[in-house]
Symmetry: C2
Subunit: 226 residues, 2 copies
């Protein structure tokens, strides 16, 4: 198998059967040693973080399969810390789709004049461009269409899938007494052009609270599977 891309938190290999293998790393995003799911840089390395992220991802992707939500997931190997997925092409150079249930992070930094930290939001969806140089700018449905990144119909599918997936994750968290504040998803097209969820669903791309206390990614995995 051939390494085709080395990302911040995963290495990507091309398999001979046409599938793709994702190797989860122990690197997590953040700044100055502090974890931040919204950060663009690897902030720290935590032993076991890769396996923890994969375990959550496997759990949620299998739940989504039961709900007929299209994803790139085929199977996972927790011992090797790898996940086999369908090949995907991303929109433009990649988008991130965020679903927010509470005002924190960049939403609060932008709209703090109109809301307090932690204010409830009704599954608010926004899209950002993956562009480190320009700090992942948010982009509207209309701008995505005008720049040829995503059609208006594709945006609607993306938004609907995002709400469905995020509500499912939120429900699972609620069952464990946890509160999902926000979650970041990625989508791509399969070989037939259909939109599917790609990447991962783990503590590394969501903010979860237990009462007033933020739950770190690996602690989240422990609580979720307790």
């Amino acid at each position: 198998m051939k390494l085709t891309y080395s990302g911040k938190t995963k290495d990507v290999y091309q398999l001979e059967d046409g599938h793709v293998l994702l190797k989860f790393k122990d690197d997590v995003t953040g700044e100055d040693g502090v974890f931040d799911p919204g950060a663009n840089t690897v902030g720290l390395t935590i032993e076991g973080a890769g396996k923890s992220g994969l375990r959550m991802t496997q759990y949620f992707f299998e739940k989504l399969a039961e709900q007929q939500v299209p994803t790139h997931y085929i199977d996972a190997d927790l011992d090797k810390v790898t996940m086999t997925v369908k090949p995907a092409t991303v929109f433009g150079s990649g988008l991130e789709v965020i679903c927010r249930f509470r005002a924190v992070g960049s939403f609060l930094r932008r709209y703090g004049k109109y809301c307090k930290e932690g204010r409830a939001l009704d599954a608010f969806v926004e899209v950002t461009l993956k562009d480190d140089e320009r700090q992942d700018p948010p982009i509207s449905k209309d701008a995505l269409a005008q720049l040829g990144i995503l059609t208006r119909d594709e945006y609607d599918i993306l938004e609907e899938l995002t709400k469905k997936i995020s509500e499912l994750v939120k429900f699972e968290m609620t069952q464990k007494g946890l509160d999902l504040y926000d979650i970041k998803l990625e989508f791509g097209r399969d070989s037939e052009g259909n939109i599917m969820l790609i990447d991962e669903i783990s503590g590394g791309n969501m903010r979860v609270y237990q009462g007033d206390k933020y739950v770190e990614p690996m602690e989240l995995e422990t609580i979720l599977f307790s």
Copy 2:
């Protein structure tokens, strides 16, 4: 009459008959002595800039009245450099609505990965919050609704009015061999809650080019009325 607000480019007085008087100043927005319609600070003072802005505003607001587009305009006095308008309440602490025909300014800074400077846009509308501290962040229709700043129906009215007004300005510019790149509008509610265009339409809140050459606000007035 009583001074109720001193803005970056205008002073606002309350008149005894319930109307409002706007006194146009010679201050224009920009940075380090260079005019920039997207800037949040007064960058320079140009003698005659206030009168020039008022003359264009009067011209366009009277054109809009002919087209039954609701605005706050009542009349203007070029000698006194004042405009009498209906009182208005703004949305939240004020919004700016931008209509873009070409990719320049903050659009280019955000989406430069996907477009070259000057790329054509199809009357692209976006809303930003007036919030100097947070650099006037762009905000989506959904976020405006969730934060209670603007309902979804009001957003649709705002967008439709913005396109109509901007296309009218663009048409007038085209008649003089000029090219409107983008324009920034402000809206408010009248005493009955109806949405109307407020503030001004002048060289100070648009970018206009003659061929490859940017046209300064006062030069724009000269060409437009030649």
